[in-house]
Amino acid sequence: MHEVVRSGPQAAAKPILPVSAERLFVRRKGRVLLDIEALTIGGRGTTVLVGPNGAGKSLLLNVLAGLRAPDSGRVLWNGEPPNRQRYCRFGMVLQRPVLLRRSVRANVEFALRAVGSSAEQARAQAHRALEAAGLLALANASARVLSGGEMQRLALTRALAAGPDLLFLDEPTSSLDPASMQTIEAMVRNASEDGMRIVLIAHDLAQARRLGDEIIFMHRGKIVEHAPTDRFFGAPATPEAQAFIAGKILI
């Protein structure tokens, strides 16, 4: 039912995976915000990033997406520096999604046109994507007047519509009602089964269990644990991870 509509210039696209990071370091005003020795995102499946507020999860995704340059170290997309114009099969939903001052439909069409769809293709694809996301009733509304949850759904739909190989989701269900959350989770699971590589930030540990094939636990800018989901929740290796799972606040 929640079929992911894949589109875009599939044939011409360069494969973006694997995405790797080496010795990433970001420091602001004497505080270490990010300190990653090595990380590789490849293969298949869904990775869930967890950790307390301010751990550096969003920052890591932004650096991996090429939106922020690290103070030192480097990020490689399939062996090359990030370049979104050359690797168009990449999508991301920001923690605070930015919707264009246009209709819901036009927001999706814009993303599709940006990856090279013709006007007619974009219209048809946008229609199907909105339908799959249950947003068709809002298609002609101004995107800027949507509710918080509707905005998140639109942002995810927009990112999915272009059919990326790699998708970063920064807390995609943070303000959704239970039914909408299920819808979104189903969309994510379907996309993952379709072969889309997904990295997702979540605060809801139940969601992390449901969606994640593996878990990355971050604390104070560092990756403290990186393990398959079962092992992370069943036998956390570090005291920080144990405390985090137990719901104890970490500073």
Binding site: R84, Q85, F90, A114, V115, S142
Partner: protein, 235 residues
């Protein structure tokens, strides 16, 4: 003291009588100021956009300068343009002094800083909000800028209207470079100055009222266009 009622009467008499002299002056005012705003947009918008999205040494000074130039005194602009266009000046051979073109040039100089400064602020704020998202769309810097211009179109339109307001209301520059020549370079403001100097205060104020009405009409038109555009966008 003059009677304000007399001014309203003069204004209505002129408008209702469709005084051909008045229509000529109104049309010239609109032509000169709108052309000036159009040219100033072509110069000021890219300048403002460039300042909004680039970082280079001395950028702060350029921004402060452009913003300060919003307060350029029209008389000074008129004088400088006069000295350039005068037959004794560098551009004298173009024979543009005392023509509407000279007035357009002077008003363009007045309006460019307004459009550039306001556009810069609008686009810089917008870029802060949109930059990451537009990068994620995979847009190059030019396409990002174009998207910002479109997303900020209503704020930018207000910048153009501010420029138009300044242009159509100023007298200091156009009276020097235009010469207030009857049927050639006489516009609303210079006509008002002339009638004031003739002591015809009611008529002068009447013309002033018409100028206000024109400014109002132009703004209302843009407002309606915007409303119509929004309706058709979300119909």
């Amino acid at each position: 003291m003059q009677d304000f009622a007399a001014s309203f009467f003069e204004a209505f008499r002129l408008v209702l009588g469709l005084d051909p002299g008045l229509i000529e002056i109104v049309l010239l005012s609109l032509k000169v100021s709108m052309t000036a705003v159009f040219i100033a947009t072509i110069i000021g918008l890219p300048l403002g956009a460039f300042l909004a999205v680039t970082r280079f040494p001395g950028r702060g000074i350029v921004i402060v300068t452009v913003t300060a130039l919003m307060g350029l005194p029209p008389v000074v602009v008129g004088l400088v343009v006069y000295m350039l266009l005068s037959n004794a000046g560098a551009l004298g051979p173009l024979q543009l002094l005392y023509t509407p073109t000279a007035m357009i040039i002077a008003q363009t100089v007045l309006v460019v800083p307004i459009i550039a400064a306001l556009a810069r602020q609008t686009l810089e704020d917008l870029n802060g909000e949109y930059r990451d998202q537009l990068m994620l769309f995979g847009l190059g810097s030019l396409a990002r800028l174009r998207t910002l211009l479109w997303e900020g179109r209503y704020s930018l339109m207000t910048a153009l209207l501010a420029g138009f307001g300044r242009a159509v209301a100023e007298v200091g520059a156009v009276i020097i470079v235009g010469g207030n020549i009857n049927h050639v370079t006489r516009v609303m403001t210079t006509a008002i100055a002339l009638e004031t100097s003739k002591g015809n205060l009611a008529l002068a104020l009447g013309l002033g009222l018409i100028l206000v009405i024109i400014a109002f009409a132009v703004n209302a038109l843009v407002f309606l266009l915007r409303a119509a555009a929004e309706r058709s966008a979300y119909a």
